[in-house]
């Protein structure tokens, strides 16, 4: 029997090239499997094989979107695969967005099935879950062992044009498509069971999750920027040198509040980044590249803004849960409000 031909897309980290310092790595195609492709190959058995692996740095992909898409599409086309698999990306944001973007492009341009995998809070999941099958993974590479067989199984179903079951059975992120089926228990029974579990404080699963439309109306514009206090906030992890509060390099559990009274410029001797999700060389050399205190001070002196708020808020937006980020910001937003700050510039890496 003919083996299906698979092309696998991974980032520089999973290819063993290196971490953030190699995130600018340009796309390249290699024969056979690389890194996590080995486990996928094992799961495919004699049914499919990875003919080529495409490796691309996460920053390169996201910063050179059109060029990266075109180059990678040409590479995929050149080996004529039956299916395209990307990741899994777990909770790596740029990797997840890259996987989703390139899957969407391949699906559209080459008309072959695609599949990827990521954690539900990965921004790529929200962007692409209704456009392709995204296997639900844990938030870190520790979930590789569980993710691989699910991805391989779904890939083979797609290749064999077998029907795909409900997301909860097959292990992909719900994509909004409804599948009719007969359950073992009738509805009234399931509803009462659910209610009893809920009353007893036991876990239960709703059959109709409410859609999550978390949108906030834009605040009115600042009337006269020359007369207001503007604050700086960042998810780029800028902290005083030495990271006094020990903000974690990923999955941050806290934010920092630091006084910048009298600080006109962030230097390599005084500030650095605690962020573990991008190459820290540039921010460590000059943290103004992420938290622009120098120019904001110029604006203040020149009367372009009223005042720069004398504190900044910072955390590390690297695999940090939405729940934590929301709690951090709800806390410091109230402090900003109490101090009559009227505008915020929030920078992200």
């Amino acid at each position: 029997m003919k083996k299906f031909r698979v092309v696998h897309y991974i980032n520089q980290f999973y290819a063993g090239i290196g971490g953030e310092e190699f995130a600018d790595y340009k796309p390249e195609i290699r024969d056979g499997f690389v890194g996590p492709g080995m486990a996928l190959t094992g799961a495919f058995g004699d049914k499919a094989e990875i003919v080529s692996t495409i490796v691309c740095g996460d920053s390169y992909f996201n910063e050179n979107l059109e060029e990266a898409k075109k180059t990678i599409l040409d590479m995929v086309r050149s080996v004529n695969p039956d299916i395209f698999i990307a990741g899994p990306a777990f909770n790596a944001g740029r990797y997840g967005v890259a996987c989703g973007t390139i899957c969407e492009t391949v699906q559209k341009e080459l008309n072959i099935p695609v599949i990827t995998g990521m954690f539900e809070e990965n921004p790529g999941a929200e962007m692409f879950k209704d456009k392709m099958l995204i296997v639900a993974t844990r938030d870190s590479a520790a979930g590789m062992r569980a993710a691989v067989p699910t991805m391989a199984n779904l890939a083979l179903k797609l290749l064999n044009k077998e029907p795909i079951g409900a997301s909860i059975e097959e292990g992909y992120l719900p994509n909004g498509t409804r599948v009719n089926f007969f359950d073992k228990e009738r509805g009234s029974r399931r509803a009462v069971d659910m209610l009893l579990n809920k009353m007893a404080g036991k876990p239960f699963t709703t059959e109709y999750p409410m859609p999550d439309f978390d949108r906030v109306e834009p605040s009115p514009a600042v009337k006269d920027i020359k007369s207001v206090t503007v604050a700086l906030v960042t998810s780029g992890g800028i902290v005083p040198k030495g990271n006094p509060d020990r903000i974690e390099s990923s999955s941050a559990s806290k934010f920092g509040e630091y006084d910048i009274t009298g600080v006109n410029d962030l230097t390599a001797d005084t500030y650095e980044t605690a962020h573990g999700g991008y190459d820290p060389v540039y921010a460590n050399a000059d943290a103004d590249r992420v938290l622009p205190v120098d120019v904001m001070r110029d604006f203040e002196r020149e009367g372009i803004i009223g005042k720069l708020y004398n504190k900044f808020y910072t955390t590390v937006g690297n695999g940090t849960s939405t729940k934590n980020s929301k709690a951090f910001a709800a806390d410091f937003a109230q402090r900003l409000k109490n101090d009559n700050v009227q505008a915020v510039i929030l920078t992200s890496t």
Partner: protein, 78 residues
Amino acid sequence: MVKEIERVGIPVVHVCTVTPISMTVGANRIVPAIAIPYPLGNPTLDVKEEKQLRRKILNTALVALSTEVDGQTIFEVK
């Protein structure tokens, strides 16, 4: 974080490189930045040019803060 700031009624501008993520998260005022490890800089420029670039981006950020929007808006740096 942008949404929590906006929720207390303070206008906020999100300066970031991967603007599709910012759109997905729900920022209302967005200014595209230079690169992931140096959103408001460019180490290939000399110090003076780099600061000039940073100033240009922040000028756009101030324009964004001073502009009424009725939905998610990306303000390109000119």
